[in-house]
Symmetry: C2
Subunit: 217 residues, 2 copies
């Protein structure tokens, strides 16, 4: 636990508002796509596009459901009573990155996770995939080191990279320039690991980004 909340760079209602803004931003895109598809379906002059419109609605609805399920664990889940299996967590991440350019190589050894560890894992896994905008392989693994649980996300691909906002967030710093929407989830991962008494390390190299979270158990 961080003893002094006041020392955190972003906290209180501001932190919650950033998270809420991110969720709304992420939700509005598939929700808007559903509306577009429905408008097209209702347009008598676009009857030749019915199948496309129906496909758009269905795909966007699936995307939305995947998003809600992911966000519940990644951002919600306030208490610490619940546990999650590694397979559940893999499915949450897989649902989020389905259809994207990067592939997910899930090599998590741990069988189940408490809420803080589950939150750290799904955010770390998602951010590892997100570090591969042009595709590649995101390998997510876990192992024990002494008394600690180590979560490792390795992104390998042609243009593997972290956005500047992500670098700021992953180091637990307040954003001074750039998009808050690109910063909040990396900061949230840092905060999750820090609040659990652990630490987060990031290394970047040519075609490679690695995130490593160490959580005491």
């Amino acid at each position: 636990m961080t003893d002094d909340h006041a020392a955190l760079p972003v906290d209180g209602q501001e932190l919650a508002a950033y998270v809420a803004a991110k969720l709304c931003h992420d939700f509005v895109s598939p929700a808007g796509a559903i509306m577009s598809g429905l408008d097209l379906l209702a347009d008598p002059s676009a009857q030749d596009m019915r199948d496309d419109a129906m496909g758009l609605v269905t795909q966007s609805a699936k995307k939305l459901i995947a998003l809600v399920h992911f966000c519940r664990v990644a951002f919600g889940a306030a208490t610490t009573s619940e546990r999650f299996t590694a397979n559940e967590l893999r499915d949450l991440v897989a649902g989020m990155v389905e259809g994207g350019r990067a592939s997910l190589d899930w090599r998590v050894a741990e069988a189940d996770f408490n809420k803080p560890a589950a939150r750290a894992l799904v955010n770390l896994a998602y951010l590892t995939v997100a570090a591969l905008p042009s595709g590649g392989v995101a390998t997510v693994s876990s192992h024990r080191e002494g008394g600690a649980l180590v979560l490792l996300g390795a992104a390998e691909g042609a243009r593997a990279r972290l956005k500047p906002e992500a670098v700021v967030g992953l180091s637990g710093r307040r954003l001074t320039e750039g998009l808050a929407g690109q910063w909040i989830q990396p900061y949230w991962l840092w905060l999750t690991v820090s609040e659990a008494g652990g630490d987060l390390g990031v290394t970047t190299g040519d075609g490679r980004v690695e995130m490593r979270a160490r959580l005491p158990t």
Copy 2:
């Protein structure tokens, strides 16, 4: 501003997680209804229910869009730069309560609002309507009192009431029993008003619930 964040009963990542959980909970219901409608549409044995299914999908999609737009202002909107007109805010609340049992009587005199005041207003208005589970009239008004802006929500109806969790939240206390999902928005309203240096008062009587927020300007 509250000087001492550490003195708040719920703060930091916990607060954000409650907000995220609430948003996910609210989003999952229309998103699930959209999926149900689509499943029905795809079922060859349910062709006689196509219109109903399509109606469910369309109505749920509209609900979802209204929800995202409301939540952006009610929970998101982290910075204080933006301003909102009273009409925009009324539309956000109206979109949320459409189709419900209670009616909204919007008598807001103020022409426009900064972000903290806008956040207070939409949450107060929504909670006023929510205090009328069996219908009635929710009157939302604003006036100036000395240097302060006063927002007033008066719920009048047969079974006007606040849930116990809402009473706890509106008084800025931590929830010790009951559903966090019923507590977080009332607490959020209290926090919004407190962080802006104002205060929030609640009175309840037979068939009447009144919420009054005073914000310095």
